[in-house]
């Protein structure tokens, strides 16, 4: 009987365009579209910035020392066109008005400072609101600076190695898998939680509040099916929808990584492939399933209580923030899974999934996290059952 209800509700849900959009279409397309847009837009900006021929205004370079160095600089550091300025105010104004893109101010006493082997401050003017300007100035400066340093050391007759007795060498002992898990591992449970919640939302409202609003619940309750069977049948659809939405979002992310050239580093791609093993996927879904049941169990009493679709939506939408906010904990480095965090719902799932990706998840903490979520899911089902059995609530 539960399966009969599940089958009917699933067909009904799959024919609802609004639910289909939130359950399948948006989760499936959100990452391919946004990531493609993001990567294309940002790379085109970067390309444009690096290929752009910049006009550089120079003031105070009396002996044309820096002018010459800039001119002889290879185009690989960025194409340029030099322009001499008579005063610094005009140079600044030209940058503000966009006539030139970079300005170099050479101090008046540059020759004296060079002669006395003092530090010379070269001031670069730029408009920080334009992408890549500071980076271009830094690359020019590094070139000039390296040349000046070599020349001065030669004048002093000092070997460069003698000036640097110690050179630090930092070696990372963490595996790449662990690094990815800790740095980017938070995104996976966040996606699942956010889309799992949204995926549950519309079916929960439609199958409970919607039935009340349309008057079909009364007919259903007159059939010889017990209320718990009706509840379980409907709840299974809500959970399926949540799992589908979350899975579609992950699938969309995977497709983006795999086929849209978003990650161009082969090593990282190999690590991602190494992480996405069947056992990882099973373990991740085992953690996320009770979470989605908990979402469904939290939404159903509200959907049963609400008298209209709008009312249900207005209560459940803020709940989204309460549920999804803890999921952001995964983005912060340093917060680890321990006996305490394993007992905090949602947070435990996020941290466990992160550790799962890193390959450092301890069985004990996994069991605590899973146990807590199963307990919470069971409680939410009991609350849903009570609310669904409340005759004052179930009929409008």
């Amino acid at each position: 009987m539960i399966f009969t209800i599940f089958k009917k509700e699933l067909i009904d849900t799959l024919r609802d365009k609004r639910t289909m959009r939130t359950m399948l279409l948006i989760p499936l397309l959100v990452f391919p579209i946004t990531l493609t847009l993001f990567v294309n837009v940002s790379s085109s900006f970067e390309k444009k910035a690096s290929e752009e021929k910049l006009k550089i205004g120079v003031w105070g370079d009396l002996g044309a020392k820096y002018w010459n160095q800039l001119e002889e600089m290879p185009d690989g550091l960025g194409k340029k066109e030099l322009q001499n300025f008579e005063d610094s105010a005009a140079l600044k104004r030209a940058i503000e008005q966009g006539e030139i893109q970079l300005g170099l101010i050479v101090p008046k006493n540059e020759a004296e400072l060079a002669q006395t082997k003092k530090t010379i401050s070269l001031t670069w003017l730029f408009d920080a609101s334009e992408v890549g300007r500071q980076e271009r100035a830094e690359s020019y400066m590094n070139y000039i600076s390296d040349k000046a340093e070599s020349a001065r050391l030669e004048e002093l007759g000092v070997d460069a190695e003698k000036l640097h007795p110690l050179v630090p060498v930092f070696q990372n002992c963490a595996s790449d898998k662990k690094m990815i898990g800790q740095l980017a591992g938070g995104i996976l449970p966040y996606i699942f939680i956010a889309f799992g919640f949204i995926g549950c939302m519309y079916p929960a409202i439609d199958l409970f509040t919607g039935e009340k609003e349309r008057g079909t619940i009364e007919t259903l309750l007159t059939t010889p099916v017990s209320r718990w069977q009706i509840l379980v049948g409907k709840m299974m659809v809500v959970v399926t929808s949540g799992m589908l939405a979350a899975s579609c979002a992950l699938l969309g992310l995977f497709v983006s990584i795999e086929f849209l050239d978003i990650v161009d580093n082969k090593e990282i791609l190999d690590i991602v492939h190494g992480i996405l093993t069947p056992s990882f996927i099973i373990a991740m879904f085992s953690l996320l399933f009770p979470l989605v049941v908990f979402f469904a169990g939290a939404m159903i009493p509200i959907a049963v209580y609400a008298k209209s679709f709008k009312e249900a939506q207005s209560i459940i939408t803020p709940l989204n923030f309460v549920m999804v906010l803890p999921a952001m904990i995964g983005f912060f480095p340093g917060i680890e899974l321990n006996a305490m965090t394993a007992a905090i719902p949602v947070v435990n799932i996020v941290l466990s999934t992160k550790e799962l990706i890193s390959g450092t998840l301890s069985v004990g903490y996994y069991c605590i996290s899973l146990g807590i979520m199963l307990l919470l899911a069971t409680l939410s089902v009991i609350v849903s059952y009570r609310q669904f059995g409340n005759e004052a609530r179930i009929l409008n």
Partner: protein, 252 residues
Amino acid sequence: MIKVSHLRKEFELSRQQKKELNTTADKALAVDDLSFECQPGKVFSLLGPNGAGKTTTLRMLSTILSPTSGSIEIAGVDAVKYPQEARSKIGFLTGSTGLYARLTPLEIIDYFAALYQVPTKEREERKKYLFDLLNMNDFLQKRIGKLSTGMKQKVSICRTMIHNPEVVIFDEPTSGLDVITAENIIKLIRDCKDQGKTVIFSSHIMSEVDLLCDELAIVHKGQLKYNGPMSDFRQNMEASNLTEEFIRIVQR
């Protein structure tokens, strides 16, 4: 057969409801000590003004609501103790019954046949009989949302009768329907009576009651004001017509 004895239903009032009803009472009495019997092959009418307790009574008979006290027997089954068993013997139809707009009539009928656990062979026979009877074959595959009110009403009737129930409960079945569509319901009630089923229907329209019913119960503010054969009601009325007599009894 339906046997109702000393039926009572109280509703707990929420803070909001207390405010709306302008009362400090914690409970509202919807049905107060109602007793009556409906015989097979007869149409029993529950007549009363809006808010009289008709829908609450019928919802208790169909076990959607459980009574505060009293007993209900549906086709020999104690409906308070064994609600699920009682429900298998009931067909329930209301004027406001919505249908699943995204399903087709065929899917809805199959769904309810499955919920009532109608055996496959019997299900197919019942479907053929009802589809032919109600002239539904032309729109069986169309989505409910695209059907006219009359077509939807036929689907509701078919859904109510798919398991061939012994007892049929109609809660203001013609409410909101035009005369032509309401005629389908009137015909259904007559057919049920001819087939020896126990029929109970609620209404606040005296002319409809006059047309159909054999036994009459008038309820007002949850209490039974009249219970007896329709013929006796007609014979003994003090007012000049049935509607005035109904108003006289209610205001007594």
